[in-house]
């Protein structure tokens, strides 16, 4: 176990990071920041940045009080959607190693086809049993788990990510993750819900935070609860246009599953513009 000399290690590690990071340049001159005073809306970044930032912060809120999703005290900002983007939430089956055809596992008979993926290896499978969530008030975010010791499935390095056109609701797919979802690649099962299950997507501002409230159709609510219950203490992936933008654990602070009653919330440090754009990608939004 660590000895008392650890304090020197920690302090020097902290100072090293602080020193390195302090060389980062501000994203804008101070005058631009001052110009935004009085406004809460932030500068709208370009789409790529929006994707990256939004993905980095988006979370399907897995509320301790699931089923009692709180309503906003502030007026919602309604968004209009184009309906041209694909949206689904799927079970995450395992993490996959980066695509590396040259160092791929042997595949007799030639290259693997993207349409047929092998099952995740037992040790890499992100089953609730492997993840081993334990609600624990002293743990990160109120729980502890074995997630840190589950490694991506190396055999999947031989398989390219599924082309967006083949990301159909019923397919098991291999998709890249945005940084906010942990980066890397994910194997995801058939969609539990898709944009067609969303009755409305509303961007809500509350206490300076922006989130997206999803209200599901009655059939969608049932399907979402089915997925969330099946993935209780396991991971679901939010997929937008063939990329995993968020991959949260389902209700990790609870000891048993509770229904979402057709409401879930995608929240994080979103700006209104980011949230609006993301919500607009959801075909059911209006």
């Amino acid at each position: 176990m660590p000895e008392p000399t650890d304090d020197g290690v920690v302090a020097s590690a902290l100072r090293d990071v602080l020193r390195t990071a302090a060389a980062t340049r501000p994203p804008e001159p101070p005058a631009d920041l001052r110009a935004r005073s009085g406004r809460r809306a932030r500068r709208v970044p370009d789409l790529k940045l929006v994707l990256t930032v939004a993905a980095a912060v988006i979370v399907v809120a897995v509320l301790v009080t699931a089923g009692v999703v709180h309503r906003s005290a502030k007026e919602p900002v309604h968004v209009s959607g184009s309906g041209r983007h694909s949206f689904s939430i799927r079970p995450v089956l395992c993490y996959a190693a980066p695509y590396a055809p040259s160092s791929a596992a042997p595949t007799p008979g030639g290259l693997p086809t993207s349409g047929v993926l092998p099952a995740c290896s037992p040790s890499s499978a992100l089953t609730a049993a492997n993840i081993g969530i334990s609600p624990d008030a002293d743990g990160v975010g109120g729980y502890t788990s074995n997630l840190g010791s589950i490694v991506p499935d190396g055999a999947l390095a031989a398989y390219p990510s599924t082309p967006v056109a083949q990301v159909t609701a019923g397919a098991t797919v291999l998709l890249p993750g945005e940084p906010g979802a942990g980066g890397g690649r994910f194997v995801l099962g058939p969609a539990g819900i898709t944009g067609a299950d969303v009755a409305s997507a509303t961007v809500v501002r509350q206490s300076g935070q922006v989130s997206i409230d999803l209200h599901l159709t009655p059939a969608g609510a049932t399907r979402w609860d089915d997925l969330a219950r099946r993935q209780f203490h396991a991971i679901v992936g939010v997929v937008v246009d063939g990329r995993v933008v968020s991959a949260p654990v389902t209700q990790p602070t609870q000891s048993s599953f509770t229904s979402f009653d057709g409401s879930l919330q995608i929240s994080g440090s979103l700006t209104a513009a980011q949230a609006g754009r993301l919500a607009s990608w959801i075909p059911g939004s209006r």
Binding site: V9, S12, P27, V59, V77, V140, G148, P248
Partner: protein, 186 residues
């Protein structure tokens, strides 16, 4: 990927601070330029996420500017901003609770500008209760004394000492588990 959607402007977006403004913009700009890197670095240690850290730093500085007529007169405007920033960072943990479970599975090589051990340190910090992480950052990272740290966190000094001791062990154990060196050897 197209952008075929529109977002109705929030009414708040229409408002603008105009009229009499006695705030010292030149002084604020100097403060911003001088303190930005240090504040960002602290947000980065607490969040492990460069984009989130930038956003939170901007938010804290925006709040400072909104009150700049008063804060400019404080002995330590950066200390005020730091407290706001640290609180924003800890709040962001709670919002990102579910994400944290998977964030440490990221492939660090996909962010070539960020050394691997930085991710690991930030991860270890997030494994601490919020005030304990702040205590460690203030004392071990920024070099505040125990009484100063205790004052900033509004906690008894004895409590801060035990937080520091416990937090160091947790963070050190986390760093030791990794294959990467905790401190860059140059």
């Amino acid at each position: 990927m197209g952008d075929g959607a529109t977002l109705e402007e929030h009414p708040e977006g229409q408002r603008e601070d105009r009229g009499m403004d006695r705030r010292d913009a030149v002084g604020f700009d100097a403060f911003y330029t001088d303190s930005w890197g240090r504040l960002f670095a602290q947000a980065y240690v607490l969040t492990g996420d460069r984009e989130a850290a930038k956003d939170l730093t901007q938010e804290a500085l925006l709040r400072a500017w909104r009150r700049w007529d008063r804060i400019a007169g404080y002995d330590d405007p950066e200390g005020w901003t730091r407290r706001v920033l640290h609180n924003l960072c800890i709040e962001s943990w709670r919002r990102a609770t579910a994400r944290l479970a998977v964030v440490h599975l990221a492939t660090p090589t996909e962010s070539p500008d960020i050394p691997v051990h930085h991710h690991e340190l930030a991860e270890a910090m997030r494994s601490l209760p919020g005030r304990q992480a702040r205590a460690l950052l203030l004392h071990d990272g920024l070099g505040l004394t125990v009484p100063e740290t205790a004052a900033e966190l509004d906690a008894p000094e004895g409590t801060v000492r035990s937080w520091l001791s416990r937090s160091r062990k947790i963070v050190a154990a986390h760093i030791e588990q990794s294959d990467q060196p905790p401190v860059r050897r140059s």
